[in-house]
């Protein structure tokens, strides 16, 4: 292999005569095969989807805080059909929750997060001219775009979007008689997800192949930045688990339209006795969570990778325990395949099977803990530069801790009996997955914006954004633990039903719901700072320098202006690991990866 192969690759594509070639608008901005442009396309789509999903959540939070009260805001967005008189309809509440969850988990945090950063960073950080297949990469993005549009369109149809929750458990999702969203809305959900999965597979395969084959000379696996390790394991998880979701969805499609009975048995719905027999709704849950749990790490690992890089750079210190970090990523990746049953402790699954899942689930806490302690030690005695990216990365570690520890309670099946499907679970996964991954994504955008757009984001706006976001988001999700411990089930349209049997809990839940909604509105408004900063800086931000954060990784050796093939000359060769920050014996506090070892210098073998 080595440099020669990469050079060859750089020149083999017909489109790749970069030195003297003016591109048309369409091939440069729309059907681009350049990984940097595709990454930016992913980012823009994800930002858009994220804003939509956030708006949806504000709509249903208004209903939760002030149930039954008329709201101008609701009627403005939902009109008379879904919010007659400004009061949200019960079914639409469930529809909003479902689409909010789906967009956030799949479109923002799976497609958006790893789509954006895997695309932009993998070739740049491993020293490759582009992805292994630019064409498949382009196809992957456009399928992602198509699936996003289908999902959004489902919000506007007459019977409403899918309404069975983001986990779409059948029979509810299989029977249009059970809820109107399980008609056309659910069909669109399934079609959209099928396309999404195809897109994700194309993307992941490309990432894996690129990382394995196109590393520049000297870039051993043990010299890869942790970002790339995280993207790599994420892609492997995706390839192994998304097909299972696809089969789950296909079987569901068949139950819905071909009269099969994979998930259906002994059902009477809407006064109609179905003759489906022998299927099992639990089968669906097993298939779904076989994807679903790895999925949460597909969401989280890229964020952890990004933050590892950002924390090391801005602490001006090597990441502590590089090998242990890789080990934990691998361990988490492996274990995440054998813990899915912790979502099913009380589905009627065999209790002994439950015990096994308790054991494996709690094992995952060990590599997670190792990662946290390694982050802490990296900060210890560093020389911290608190850029907005760094603040978001620190925030990520905090939310990873705060959300992770409640996972330990949930993983204990005996305790899960009491709190499964309550707001405690909602708090857990929003903090550990929602907040951490979103923080990781923001950190990544602030850190690599100069690389993406050649300009700088405004730092002050970044600070305002960070502080509003962390206060707002903790303000939203922290009180939810208490709502859940009070026993409040999730996915309830109106908690004033508590007034009928427990007035104490009623008051508590209603009070906290108002607090939560207020914080949610604050946090949402805070995102305005980001959106403004983002779009303003793309066009008018100050021009960036080549290596603004004085970082070691290869992407900062490329010119600010984007070009096909990334490096104007030969691809730099790599001589050291990426974390030589503040290395004794060097004047500067960073030593980029392409700087050869000095005579007599020991390479860090970590």
């Amino acid at each position: 292999m080595g440099a020669l192969a990469h050079e060859a690759h750089g020149h083999h594509g017909a489109h790749d005569h970069h030195e003297h070639h003016e591109e048309g608008f369409v091939s440069k901005y729309i059907f681009s095969m350049d990984h940097k442009m595709i990454g930016k396309q992913y980012l823009l789509t994800a930002v858009f989807m994220g804003v939509v999903a956030m708006l949806l959540s504000i709509l249903f939070r208004i209903q939760l805080a002030w149930p039954g009260e008329s709201s101008d805001f609701l009627s403005m967005f939902l009109g008379e059909t879904w919010a007659p008189g400004g009061v949200l309809k019960e079914n639409m509440y469930l529809g909003l929750v479902t689409i909010h969850g789906t967009i956030m988990v799949f479109f923002l945090l799976t497609g958006g997060l790893s789509g954006t950063f895997s695309n932009i960073l993998i070739p740049l950080q491993i020293g490759a001219r582009d992805m292994a297949s630019g064409f498949l990469n382009m196809l992957s993005y456009w399928m992602f775009f198509l699936s996003s549009m289908i999902m959004l369109c489902s919000l506007f149809i007459e019977t409403g979007p899918a309404m069975a929750g983001w986990t779409i458990y059948p029979p509810l999702s299989a029977l249009p008689q059970a809820i109107e969203g399980s008609g056309l809305g659910m069909t669109m959900w399934l079609v959209s997800m099928a396309i999404f999965i195809a897109s994700s597979l194309l993307g992941s395969l490309n990432y894996i192949v690129t990382i394995l084959n196109l590393r520049t000379a000297g870039m051993k696996m043990t010299r890869l930045p942790l970002t790339v390790w995280a993207f790599f394991v994420t892609a492997v998880l995706g390839v192994l688990s998304f097909p299972v979701l696809l089969s789950a969805a296909l079987l569901l499609l068949m139950d819905r339209s071909a009269g099969t009975s994979f998930y259906l048995s002994d059902i009477i719905v809407g006064g109609e006795m179905l003759d489906n027999h022998g299927g099992s709704p639990l089968l669906y849950q097993h298939l779904f969570w076989f994807l679903g749990h790895p999925e949460v790490y597909i969401v989280l690992l890229p964020a952890l990778g990004l933050s590892s890089e950002i924390i090391a750079t801005n602490s001006r210190k090597p990441i502590f325990g590089y090998r242990a970090m890789i080990g934990s990523i691998l361990a988490i990746g492996f274990l995440s395949f054998i813990v899915w049953g912790h979502h099913m402790f009380i589905t009627g699954m065999n209790p002994f099977l439950g015990s096994v899942f308790v054991f494996t689930t709690l094992l995952i806490a060990i590599p997670s803990a190792v990662k946290v302690f390694n982050y802490l030690t990296t900060l210890w005695r560093g020389s911290l530069v608190l850029t907005p990216a760094m603040l978001f990365a620190i925030g990520l570690v905090s939310t990873f801790i705060t959300g992770g520890v409640t996972g330990i309670i949930l993983a204990d099946s005996a305790l899960d009996i009491a709190i499964h499907d309550t707001y405690f679970v909602v708090a857990h996964f929003h903090i550990v997955m929602g907040m951490s991954a979103v923080f990781g994504m923001f950190a990544g955008v602030y850190h690599w914006f100069p690389k993406m757009y050649g300009r700088m984001l405004n730092t002050r706006l970044g600070y305002a954004h960070f502080w509003i976001t962390i206060v707002g988001a903790y303000g939203v999700f922290f009180p939810m633990h208490f709502v859940g411990l009070a026993g409040a089930p999730r996915r309830y349209y109106d908690y004033s039903v508590y007034g009928e049997f427990d007035t104490n809990s009623y008051e508590m839940i209603m009070d906290l719901n108002v607090i939560v909604t207020v914080f949610a509105i604050i946090a949402a408004i805070g995102q305005g700072f980001f959106l403004f900063n983002f779009f303003y800086s793309i066009f008018r931000g100050p021009k960036a320098v080549q290596n603004p954060w004085k970082s070691n990784t290869l992407e900062w050796t490329t010119p600010v202006e984007h070009m096909h093939g990334n490096w104007p000359g030969a691809i730099p060769e790599v001589h050291r690991w990426p974390y030589d920050y503040s290395k004794p014996g060097y004047e500067e506090d960073f030593v980029p990866q392409d700087v050869p070892l000095k005579e007599g210098e020991e390479e860090e073998t970590h």
Partner: protein, 420 residues
């Protein structure tokens, strides 16, 4: 309309104001020759202080919530098993809250303490195997304790109920619960969803209910609420009727489906053992409220008619999904009567409740049943006042729509032949 306008104006003004601010900021940066990526010591210090401030308010908020609401907003556990759960929950909470405070404090404190200082270089410290071993082993040991204790409680919560446990079935459908008590014999009668009729909502299996279901499947009901196979065929075969294609298809599908179901019913009837009748007939069906007797062990079984629901008893710390096509179970021993619990909660209007805790449709949030835990004597008196399934079901025989089969239609005898 005006609301939309105002929103729009606010947004536009906000963006314009921000843009102006940024302009000013950029100009001043330019004048001072400051680049965006250079974080000044002042900014660094400010954010470090904010980190400490945030930590402080975060902890205050947490402690305030704990003091105000405690972790059991729903009061002490009201069942024997629930007390064990609470004990374990407390223990785990103590552990994770300690971890939460230590690690978050270290994180934010480091973020505050180790900010860049002139002349101080970061300490090059790439790894330390001993340390890493330490924080692999310590969590592993703590987790081992958590796992062992957890599985002990889990095993005792999910082991079989004793022989004497009172059997109760909870039947769930969109959007309510029905309870069925096993009656004198403490055996719940057989059931099959195909036996569901308006008179037999829980689809209990007795000779009479089988006959009635077969009759209704074939001939429908006299009051026209149920359309039987016979009527369907008649409609479809009548040359005078003209249907739009969708209706036609639907009716043909209905006919096929009902014919298949009928065949299964007839088979079931043939296999039926008359001895089972008694098991079902002494069952007691109860809507509205679930009455339980204090300090008695219950074995509850669960059924779902349409979609998945979940039987959630927050105060008893008990929960189990109800799944169409599958019978699930849990055991539970209520420890305090409703009256006692009202005293403990200092709330004279408090009631135990059974809620649905799995998204099941539009009125999911209303799907609940009040639970009353009686003293033994109250419970006995209450049970005495209830009618058995036999009393209710056999009281009013159902009339079929057509007593004599029309020409060309299938009779039960024919169906039986087909099956053979």
């Amino acid at each position: 309309m005006s609301f939309k306008l105002i929103t729009l104006i606010v947004i536009v003004l906000g963006v314009v104001a921000l843009a102006q601010l940024i302009r000013v900021y950029e100009l001043s940066s330019k004048l001072r020759n400051r680049r965006e990526e250079d974080i000044t010591n002042r900014d660094n210090r400010l954010n470090a202080n904010l980190l400490m401030g945030f930590t402080f308010f975060f902890y205050i908020g947490f402690i305030w919530l704990m003091l105000k609401y405690g972790w059991t907003g729903r009061g002490d556990a009201a069942s024997v098993g629930g007390e064990e759960t609470d004990w374990l929950l407390n223990l785990n909470f103590v552990i994770i809250i300690i971890v939460f405070f230590i690690t978050n404090t270290l994180l934010f404190y480091f973020g505050y303490k180790y900010i860049r200082k002139p002349g101080v270089k970061a300490y090059y410290y790439p790894h330390n195997n001993k340390l890493e071993l330490l924080w692999t082993v310590v969590p592993a040991v703590v987790l081992a304790v958590i796992i062992i204790l957890g599985l002990k409680v889990w095993n005792s919560a999910t082991s079989d109920a004793s022989k004497e446990a009172i059997r109760v079935e909870l039947f769930s459908k969109q959007f309510d619960w029905t309870a069925r008590y096993a009656g004198e014999d403490n055996i719940l009668g057989h059931f099959d969803y195909k036996l569901t009729t308006q008179e037999n909502e829980l689809a209990l299996m007795t000779t009479e209910s089988l006959d009635s279901a077969i009759r209704q499947m074939e001939f429908g009901k006299a009051d026209g609420t149920v359309m039987g196979i016979q009527l369907l065929e008649e409609k479809l075969n009548n040359p005078k009727n003209i249907f739009i294609p969708e209706d036609l298809e639907k009716m043909e599908n209905d006919l096929d489906r009902k014919t298949r179901l009928l065949r299964l019913l007839v088979q079931m009837r043939a296999r039926h053992n008359k001895k089972w009748d008694a098991e079902a007939y002494d069952d007691i069906i109860q809507k509205d409220t679930l009455h339980l007797c204090v300090n008695k062990e219950y074995e509850m079984t669960f059924r779902a008619k349409d979609v998945i629901h979940s039987a959630y008893f927050p105060h008893f710390r008990a929960q189990m999904n109800t799944v169409p096509g599958l019978t699930t179970r849990l055991k539970m021993t209520p420890k305090y009567t409703t009256k006692q619990m009202r005293g403990k909660m200092k709330n004279p209007k408090f009631n135990y409740v059974l809620m649905c805790n799995k998204i099941c449709g539009s009125a999911h949030y209303k799907m609940k049943m009040i639970v009353v835990v009686d003293s033994p004597s109250e419970y006995k008196a209450w049970l005495k006042s209830k009618q058995t399934f036999k009393d209710v079901f056999l009281a009013k025989p159902v009339e079929a729509a057509a007593a004599t089969p029309l020409e060309g239609t299938v009779t039960p005898a024919d169906t039986a032949k087909i099956i053979k």
